[in-house]
């Protein structure tokens, strides 16, 4: 039914366009001078017919579910509803929903079947009602648009106003996304902090999110201190940066100063390929190749290496970050004015001396900005660590040990289990909030450093 509704909107809009354009052309053919050319009259009809109908459909779909559910819950026999807690009511609601979709477990009582039937009937009626309302709106739009066609009508101005409004709406989507992220993270985190004190979360040294699912189960009471998780993240980030920073900067220097043009033409795309490989591929690579290699190297040297060593995940993440660091270094070196370089070479410095003593110090702010962005990337990176790092939070800085990270914990908390009333799942949102804050401040700092540095030479 929704398909037909959308089809009707499309057909009516196109029809409106043709209708109004033809009408405007007819006026023009009659010798009158139009204010706006005919296609604008058409576009006016298109906007007036299609847009309100589309908005109507979106709003309807957003609220249909809530309204129908409320009506169905109202219709339930009062003796079944009275005295139930909100949690039980929402359970009842989803039970009726699944009965309505034909997934019946056991033998539900008649009043539930009745409610499910009522729900399906309401849904069918709602679809029909939506179609009828949309057709009415389309008709109204067409009628109004057709009436407004005249030589003096400023169709172009109206159409351009609508276009501007649409474009502003597009720009607002980005803001709405940020707001959505911040609000949803804060909302769920507050629900988490209602159950676990915020001080325990921020300063606790234990992360054991096992909670008893049933009453009296022996599972520990759960501890939610994020310090060990964050330290684990930092360990892996450090390993990644010790790989990525030297390799990235040195290769950028080589490509910038020493490599011939054809060599650069080959190497740069190769480095870009490294940046384009999906992280899930890196994760599998870490499990398949790097972790066994590190383990056998450890065995050969007689050093005990944990199976999920932070070294494996960290070094693979470092490989992923090489192109990132190298392209930022390249940009920073290229942004240093040529006069500095020419001056240094003219004084008799070698190329190496020019790079090390003139260009590199001048480029350092840009490079630092790039490294900070790389840190933020490493902290937020998920798939490599989910596949190659550990699950248990141990407070250690030994990269040979198994550590866990913020992102790993978020994923493990939220895979499968989605009951949103226990601290275990809610803790993922608190971790997400911390992750967002940390990466955001790193990004803001990095962008500020980079921008300031660019202004220095512009």
């Amino acid at each position: 039914m929704l398909g037909y509704t959308l089809l009707a909107i499309l057909a009516a809009s196109v029809a409106g366009y043709w209708m109004n354009r033809a009408a405007a052309r007819k006026i023009a053919a009659g010798g009158e001078r139009l204010h706006s050319v005919a296609p604008f009259h058409g576009a006016y009809a298109l906007a007036l017919t299609g847009l309100p109908a589309l908005i109507l459909v979106v709003l309807w779909l957003l609220f249909e579910g809530f309204v129908i559910e409320a009506v169905v819950m109202q219709s339930l026999p009062p003796e079944q509803v009275d005295g139930r807690s909100p949690g039980e009511l929402s359970l009842l609601e989803s039970e009726i929903q699944s009965i309505a979709q034909g997934r019946i477990f056991g033998e539900p009582p008649d009043w539930k079947l009745e409610a499910a039937r009522y729900l399906n009937a309401l849904r069918g009626n709602a679809d029909l009602a939506l179609f009828a309302v949309v057709v009415a709106a389309l008709g109204l739009g067409l009628w109004v648009a057709r009436r407004r066609v005249s030589a003096a009508f400023r169709a172009r101005h109206s159409v351009e106003r609508v276009m501007s409004a649409l474009m502003i709406f597009c720009s607002l989507v980005a803001i709405a996304t940020t707001l959505g992220i911040v609000l949803s993270l804060i909302y769920e985190s507050i629900r988490f902090f209602e159950r676990v004190p915020i001080t325990e979360f921020l300063f606790g040294l234990n992360w054991e999110p096992q909670i008893p699912i049933r009453e009296g189960q022996v599972a520990g009471s759960g501890a939610f201190g994020w310090i060990p998780v964050f330290v684990g993240t930092l360990v892996i980030t450090t390993v990644a940066l010790t790989v990525a920073v030297p390799v990235g900067i040195l290769s950028a220097i080589y490509l910038f100063e020493f490599a011939s043009r054809p060599v650069r033409g080959v190497i740069k795309p190769v480095l870009e390929i490294l940046a384009g490989v999906p992280t899930v591929v890196y994760g599998f690579f870490a499990v398949l190749v790097v972790a066994p290699a590190i383990r056998s190297a450890g065995d050969a040297l007689g050093i005990p290496v944990a199976p999920n060593t932070a070294l494996a995940a960290g070094s693979v993440m470092g490989v992923m970050l090489i192109p990132f660091i190298s392209s930022f270094t390249d940009d920073a070196l290229a942004a240093v004015p040529g006069s500095l370089r020419d001056g240094s070479l003219a004084l008799g410095a070698t190329r190496g001396e020019t790079i090390l003593k003139v260009l590199f110090p001048a480029a350092i702010p840009g490079i630092v900005g790039g490294v900070l962005l790389a840190v933020s990337r490493a902290i937020g990176e998920t798939m490599i660590v989910v596949m190659a790092a550990g699950l248990i939070a141990t407070l250690t800085i030994n990269p040979l040990d198994s550590v866990t990270t913020v992102t790993v914990q978020i994923v493990t908390m939220l895979i499968g289990d989605t009951a949103f009333d226990n601290p275990k799942t809610l803790s993922a949102f608190a971790l997400g909030l911390m992750l967002f804050l940390v990466t955001l401040s790193l990004n803001v700092l990095a962008l500020r450093i980079v921008r300031k540095y660019r202004e220095l030479y512009d």
């Binding site: 474009m167 992220i181 290769s251 999906p278 398949l288 190749v289 190496g352 994923v411």
Partner: protein, 433 residues
């Protein structure tokens, strides 16, 4: 120079003897530093290239076996007693399959029949069933059909199981290996291209598992992502580049877009979980939700690329259009946008390629479920290519290791194609002014 300094009365000029041993030594040292720096740079580039080579090489090497599959040509006697002609779906195909294998290796005691039948994939009986259901005329005849062998024997046929290791730590015992060797001698074993990899959906059995569901899921994801983020991205880019007044609000939008591009992908997953799944109650694992999430992530990329493309259109084009009486909107629609389109398309394709490889947010909205059917639309539960890779990488069966690598090869092929298309568009259509 020398004359001037000599005449200024500063005394005789000290001529530097560049060939003096001391200076030669210093010069050599300075050049040595240069060479050191250069070789460090070469080393760094070599490390990066080697890692890429190892990455691609190990994935291709480990994924290669999954592109073929071992089959056994069997003759099944489909009798009317075992398969009722009026209801062929209820036939006893398991028994028919077992008898077919027993025909080839008859001298097996009763208690080993089960072990013997396990040479064949569990899917063999269903394959036979589907064939008979489609052609009921075959009942009462002998049907020749190539059926896949199960994963351990597939590995054996490909030489991936070392016959010299201790029997206890091997996945197949000596008896099973002997049976399989007999089958090979009879000439009924053959290796074919593994079409299941693309035509089957996911399965518990590695030899039957394929990427069909994941490919369709990824297709719907990218479709939704494109339909949403492309118009929104262009609209926002045009507004910010051509119409927006320079004020505080515009600044905020701009800073916000830049920061959004650097937000970790998992945070978008949390947003999707809290808003799309919990609040709007959209279905779990649906490509629609995944596509919405990915489009929010791709939007900043597309906006930034589109703005760069629009900015690259020279102002003279705008001035000429405005000069002959076009309105600002007409200028943008008829002149700036067409000229910026190649750049916008390039940015969009690169953004979509990123979205295609994105995994973490899809895990949080449940696109890593075990689903054995390809989705029929954007509301059906489905997996996607990267999440399928994640699922298979987590599976303990040996056969899934090579299938994971093969799936990665498929994903990388798509990414390479998309990026090549982007490069082609850039080189073919982009103009320098």
């Amino acid at each position: 120079m020398t004359d001037a300094s000599a005449s200024s009365g500063l005394g005789p000029v000290r001529r530097i003897d560049w060939q003096a041993p001391e200076l030669k030594r210093r010069r050599a040292q300075r050049h040595r530093t240069d060479i050191w720096l250069q070789s460090l740079g070469v080393g760094a580039v070599a490390i990066a290239c080697t890692m890429l080579a190892i990455l691609v090489g190990s994935l291709v090497y480990s994924g290669w076996p999954a592109f073929t599959q071992t089959f056994i040509n069997l003759e099944f006697e489909v009798t009317a007693e075992q398969v009722p002609p009026d209801n062929p779906e209820r036939g006893e195909f398991r028994d028919i399959v077992r008898d077919a294998v027993l025909d080839l290796i008859p001298d097996v005691p009763e208690d080993q029949h089960r072990q013997l039948t396990s040479i064949l994939s569990n899917g063999a009986q269903y394959q036979l069933r589907d064939l008979i259901v489609a052609n009921p005329g075959l009942i009462g005849e002998t049907v020749a059909l190539a059926v896949p062998v199960s994963d351990p024997f597939d590995q054996l046929a490909k030489g991936l199981i070392d016959r010299d290791t201790d029997e206890a730590s091997r996945r197949l015992d000596d008896r099973e290996i002997a049976w399989f060797a007999r089958l090979q001698q009879m000439g009924v074993v053959e290796t074919q291209l593994n079409t299941y990899l693309l035509t089957n959906a996911d399965s518990r059995f590695p030899e039957l598992a394929g990427l069909k569901g994941a490919l369709w899921g990824s297709f719907y994801l990218i479709l939704v992502c494109f339909v949403i983020s492309f118009p929104l991205g262009i609209g926002a880019a045009i507004y910010l580049e051509e119409f927006a007044p320079k004020n505080r609000f515009t600044d905020i939008v701009e800073v916000n877009i830049n920061n959004l591009a650097a937000v970790p992908s998992i945070v978008f997953g949390l947003l999707a979980l809290a808003v799309f799944l919990n609040w709007f109650e959209l279905p779990r694992s649906a490509p629609l939700v995944g596509g919405l999430t990915l489009s929010l992530m791709t939007l900043p990329t597309i906006i930034i690329a589109s703005r760069a493309a629009i900015k690259a259109v020279p102002p003279s084009v705008r001035e000429a259009a405005l000069g002959v009486g076009a309105s600002k909107h007409q200028t943008v629609k008829d002149f700036v946008l067409p000229l910026a389109m190649p750049g916008i398309m390039t940015g969009t394709i690169i953004g979509l390629a990123q979205a295609l490889g994105e995994t973490a947010p899809l895990l949080l909205i449940g696109m890593n479920a075990f689903i054995t059917q390809a989705p029929d639309g954007v509301m059906d539960a489905s997996t996607a290519l990267p999440t399928q890779i994640f699922i298979w990488a987590d599976s303990p069966e040996r056969g899934f290791v090579s299938r994971t690598s093969a799936a990665i090869c498929v994903l990388l092929c798509f990414l390479i194609t998309m990026n090549a298309l982007a490069v082609y568009l850039r080189n073919r259509f982009e103009r320098s002014w």
